[in-house]
């Protein structure tokens, strides 16, 4: 979700009169109530804002004040922006912009993400300078729009993937694979080429399959075969068979900014519990169904 989608030019204004934050907030509350029918309005809402402000300061070192109230049964998020022509001084800190955020009681997570997006924006002094030099709300709106700030709403693959995972070269032998699987206690590995690009995947079943001839795979069942020793064949081939002979292709991968639901969807769709996460053809991580289960579902 983009920050700009939550802002509206009509709720952004430049203040020339107010000397204190309280004065400014009074005007902001009236502006919101002019455009929105909030469950609590005008003085009622203003009191609520002040009460919240007394509990703790919402001024940040970058010159940002982000007062915030939650109202029951509002079911929306409204942000009103006030830019004093002359910065307001409060407890020794200068306030350059005030963002008043009205949310519903249930949107705590969204509120936190908006705050973090605003703080990110305020750290960019060039953008802040541009905002402060605008003439009206539309100008501010377009400056923020051009910068394309994201309000991070949900987790992405990047947040829960295993970073810097072990990989294996496509020209390695399956003996090296076996050693890596057992020393790292894993069952899947991304495969990379000489340019360190992602070219496929290999898992423990593909390794074991080297020991089971194709003709056995064509039979209904092998119950009649008491003493076949497929792994004799496996040991004798360990130095000959290369990863590229047994690996699967690189068609199925995830990207760091894929959503968790997309990752789960692809795991179910392809009956695959392991995915390599790539960026510009390089492996940047791996994600298993177990990671999603532990880090998201049961977190």
């Amino acid at each position: 979700m983009q920050l700009i989608s939550l802002l509206e030019p009509k709720l952004i204004y430049f203040d020339t009169n107010s000397d204190t934050k309280t004065d400014a907030l009074k005007i902001m509350v009236d502006l919101i109530c002019k455009h929105y029918e909030t469950p609590r309005c005008r003085d009622d809402l203003f009191e609520l804002v002040l009460k919240r402000e007394q509990e703790s300061s919402t001024v940040y070192p970058t010159g940002l004040a982000i007062p915030h109230v939650r109202i029951d049964n509002f079911d929306d998020t409204v942000i009103c922006v006030c830019i004093p022509r002359k910065p307001i001084s409060e407890n020794g800190q200068l306030i350059k912009i005030i963002f008043l955020i009205i949310t519903d009681n249930s949107s705590a997570k969204l509120y936190l993400n908006i705050v973090s997006a605003l703080i990110r924006m305020s750290r960019d002094s060039a953008v802040m300078g541009q905002i402060l030099s605008q003439k009206d709300g539309h100008g501010v709106y377009h400056v923020i729009k051009q910068e394309d700030y994201k309000v991070k709403e949900d987790l992405t693959v990047k947040d829960i993937m295993n970073t810097s995972p072990p990989t294996i070269r496509d020209t390695a032998t399956i003996k090296e694979l076996a050693e890596l699987l057992s020393s790292q206690n894993i069952v899947n590995l991304p495969v990379v080429n000489d340019k360190n690009e992602f070219v496929g995947e290999v898992d423990i079943l593909q390794y074991l399959k080297v020991g089971v001839p194709d003709y056995l795979m064509l039979m209904n069942n092998l119950k009649f075969l008491p003493s076949f020793e497929p792994f004799e064949q496996l040991y004798s081939k360990e130095d000959e068979v290369l990863i590229k002979d047994i690996m699967t292709g690189p068609e199925l991968n995830l990207y760091p900014d894929n959503s968790i639901i997309e990752a789960v969807f692809r795991m179910i769709q392809h009956k695959k519990t392991f995915f390599a996460v790539t960026e510009n053809k390089k492996v940047v991580g791996t994600l298993t169904a177990g990671d999603i289960f532990r880090k998201v579902v049961r977190a």
Partner: protein, 427 residues
């Protein structure tokens, strides 16, 4: 004249694609079939009327029956049991398996048969420590030869039987005897060629004898039901003349009864996986194209011309048919060949001064089915088996296959010629 040229053109182009496989066969044949309609050689109604639904449903019925039976594990059981009956001796295994595969292929689909038998034979040969290639090739031969024996053994026979109204019994009486002779001679050849070549240790034989084949029958109740239905099916075919029902009705009834008796969860699987819809639609397209040739008058023009070339010598034409169809079927495939030859031979009937055209039909059946052994691409069973062998590290090249198949194919076509001559012209 124009429709005739157009129909012939579509026919030739389609067949070039069938042989070369540049485009998927079924796709190109169906396209050819509808091009015939598009070029107004005949209406869609007429084109559809050429589709022999008796053939299509007979094939569907047999595919369903095969689909149910193969899941009982009985074929794998039969293969392992045979190896044990042969006491693990390679030459005995090879010969007994030849007989078993030929017998199964005579009543059930060849491709499915080899898909089950070939992996088992590779396992057995590997366990015995000898090359599986001679085993694979002799199994292919067995499947093609066995399939010739009955009406339902091979698609070409189904096509001929349906088009000419020849019954199951007709095939048993006319083809089965010569196929038994050819099978026995083939086994003799196999014995002569291989009996001194294959030696295995007692220890390796003991491994084969250690297989517990009884466990392979995974669903005994279903197997018993299958056997009962197969018996009823055979009875239905044998009694066809008295009960006056077409083969498709008999096969479909048996198939659907068996399907209902089988595991209900498997029904969907069998309908989608065991029925070879791609081959069935290939046949449908083929029927339409050949129908186009017929409607355009190509067949009625070509048939007398061919008869003139042979100087209306029925005996010569019949015997030549064995070799003609034998050689051609390994090039363009038995099914496309037979589908083309049927209307042609029907049109030739009036030009020959004979009471019955039957000898010609038997010649066509023998030639086209046995010709499948001619080359590695001769029949679907060959292609499937060689594919399995290749995937397991036993590539069988065109020439390697020919080295084994050439003599047996030559022998079987020669025996067929002798048989047809003796039975229909000499005695």
């Amino acid at each position: 004249m124009l429709p005739m040229i157009l129909a012939l053109l579509i026919f030739i182009i389609t067949y070039v694609f069938i042989i070369s496989e540049w485009i998927n066969k079924t796709t190109i044949v169906l396209l050819g079939g509808f091009l015939i309609v598009l070029c107004r050689i005949m209406t869609q109604e007429v084109a559809f009327s050429y589709i022999d639904w008796n053939v299509i449903f007979l094939l569907i019925g047999m595919m369903i029956i095969m689909g149910v039976i193969k899941d009982t594990g009985v074929f794998q059981y039969a293969a392992i049991k045979t190896a044990k009956v042969a006491k693990g001796s390679p030459i005995r295994i090879m010969m007994l398996m030849f007989a078993v595969t030929a017998a199964i292929s005579a009543v059930l689909d060849n491709v499915t048969t080899v898909m089950i038998i070939i992996p088992v034979i590779i396992l057995i040969a590997s366990e015995l420590g000898i090359s599986p290639i001679p085993f694979i090739i002799t199994q292919i031969m067995a499947s093609n030869i066995g399939g010739t024996a009955t009406l339902i053994g091979d698609p070409p026979n189904i096509l001929i039987g349906s088009a000419v109204k020849l019954t199951f019994i007709d095939f048993i009486v006319n083809l089965t005897p010569v196929i038994i002779i050819i099978s026995l001679l083939s086994m003799a050849v196999i014995y002569l060629v291989f009996h001194k070549r294959m030696h295995v240790s007692n220890q390796r034989r003991a491994r084969i004898m250690g297989y517990n084949e009884k466990i392979l029958i995974t669903n005994k109740p279903l197997l018993i039901k299958s056997i009962i239905v197969m018996c009823l099916l055979m009875f239905g075919f044998v009694a066809q003349e008295f009960i006056r029902l077409n083969s498709a009705t008999i096969a479909m009834t048996a198939a659907l009864v068996l399907l209902i008796l089988s595991n209900r969860k498997e029904v969907e699987h069998i309908l989608t996986q065991s029925i070879d819809w791609v081959s069935l639609f290939f046949l449908i397209g083929l029927f339409m194209i050949i129908g186009g040739l017929n409607e355009a008058g190509v067949m009625s023009k070509a048939a007398p011309a061919i008869v003139r070339v042979t100087r209306a010598n029925f005996q010569f034409t019949t015997l030549a048919m064995i070799w003609f169809s034998g050689i051609l079927s390994s090039v363009i495939g038995a099914v496309p060949l037979v589908a083309t030859m049927i209307p042609l031979i029907k049109n030739m009937a009036s030009s020959f001064n004979v009471v019955s055209m039957d000898p010609m039909w038997w010649a066509l059946a023998l030639g086209s089915c046995l010709g499948g052994n001619g080359t590695v691409l001769g029949s679907a069973a060959n292609i499937v088996s060689v594919g399995i062998a290749k995937r397991n590290g036993f590539p069988i090249s065109f020439w390697r296959f020919l080295r084994y198949s050439f003599f047996i194919t030559l022998m079987s076509l020669a025996v067929s010629t002798l048989y047809v001559w003796l039975r229909y012209f000499f005695l």
